[in-house]
Amino acid sequence: MNIEWYVVLSSLLFAVGAMGILIRRSPVVILLCLELMLNAGNLALVAFSRMVGNQQGQVFAIVVMVVAACEVVVGLGLIVAIFRRKLPLDVDELRELRG
């Protein structure tokens, strides 16, 4: 398969993830869509690493996975804290930080 196919698929997945972040309002689903975008980036990294024939892009993809895991842990901790305070789980209603 051409590398081009993988990169186009990756950009399609990224666009779907970005669309989901714009459409959905539940913080859990927004985190899921963030995962989609990070995974699309990972697919592009691995595809380019195969294109060059160099394994360093795969190391970069693994570091991206670590960052995604950290982001999930902190994000889900925030969601649990919001739920404990009996605040609404909706990003449009949680806008006290908006200027």
Binding site: M1, N2, I3, E4, W5, V7, S11, L13, F14, A15, V16, G17, A18, M19, G20, L22, I23, R25, S26, V28, V29, L31, L32, C33, E35, L36, N39, N42, L43, V46, R50, M51, V52, G53, Q55, Q56, Q58, V59, A61, I62, M65, V66, V67, A68, A69, C70, E71, V72, V73, V74, L76, G77, L78, I79, V80, A81, R85, L89, D90, E96
Partner: protein, 203 residues
């Protein structure tokens, strides 16, 4: 054979991604994301990166998704309210998503990377297997490896601090827990009277 596998995995990945966005119940969104992640692992295997595929299945589909399932089961998958602060958001957002894809497609298809249209160079048998990645991680990329481990540690500590249950019945933690549970309520009530008061003074 490779093309057939690619298209099956690509359809799975794309269908999983659309399922995450389109399904109303967050629990089904998590399940769709698991389908997406497994399809991506197949794509990684096709790109001859076995270790990344294994890490994808073990770390993402195994650990992270279990965390998501726990949190969705804890907070409950409620329906989203129909209230929209931005009118027409449901129609503008897909247009913006399509615009991002068109932009990325133009960037990819018009790029000067000549090797993009090839299958990539022929690689040795050990390309992307755990031994090669481990050598790279522990020899060439030791500092990023350690930095990411510190990041993981900080995230774990932060999650414990964020989500820790503060017991109101303990003697020592009493004052601080009462403060922390009452402060947001005060903050949410305070700003509303203040602007009208402040706006009333100059006039």
């Amino acid at each position: 054979m490779e093309a057939v596998l690619f298209f099956i995995a690509a359809i799975g990945a794309l269908g999983g991604a659309i399922g995450v966005v389109a399904l109303r119940n967050p629990f089904y969104s998590v399940l769709a994301l698991i389908v997406h992640l497994f399809s991506l692992a197949v794509l990684f295997l096709l790109l001859s990166s076995a270790f990344v595929a294994a890490a994808q299945v073990v770390v993402y589909a195994g650990a992270v998704m279990v965390l998501y399932v726990f949190v969705v089961a804890y907070v409950g998958g409620g329906e989203e309210s129909a209230w929209e602060p931005i009118p027409g958001q449901q129609f503008i957002a897909p247009l913006l998503g399509v615009a991002i894809f068109v932009e990325l497609a133009i960037a990819v298809l018009s790029s000067a990377l000549l090797a993009l249209g090839t299958d990539g160079p022929a690689v040795k048998a050990g390309f992307g297997d755990p031994a090669a990645i481990g050598h790279l991680l522990l020899e060439k990329f030791l500092v990023p490896f350690e930095a990411s481990s510190i990041l993981l540690l900080l995230a774990a500590v932060g999650a414990i601090v964020l989500a820790a249950r503060r017991e109101p019945s303990r003697g020592v933690g009493r004052g601080s827990s009462e403060h922390s549970s009452e402060a947001p309520a005060e903050r949410s009530e305070d700003p509303r009277p203040t602007p009208s008061h402040a706006g009333g003074v100059p006039s």
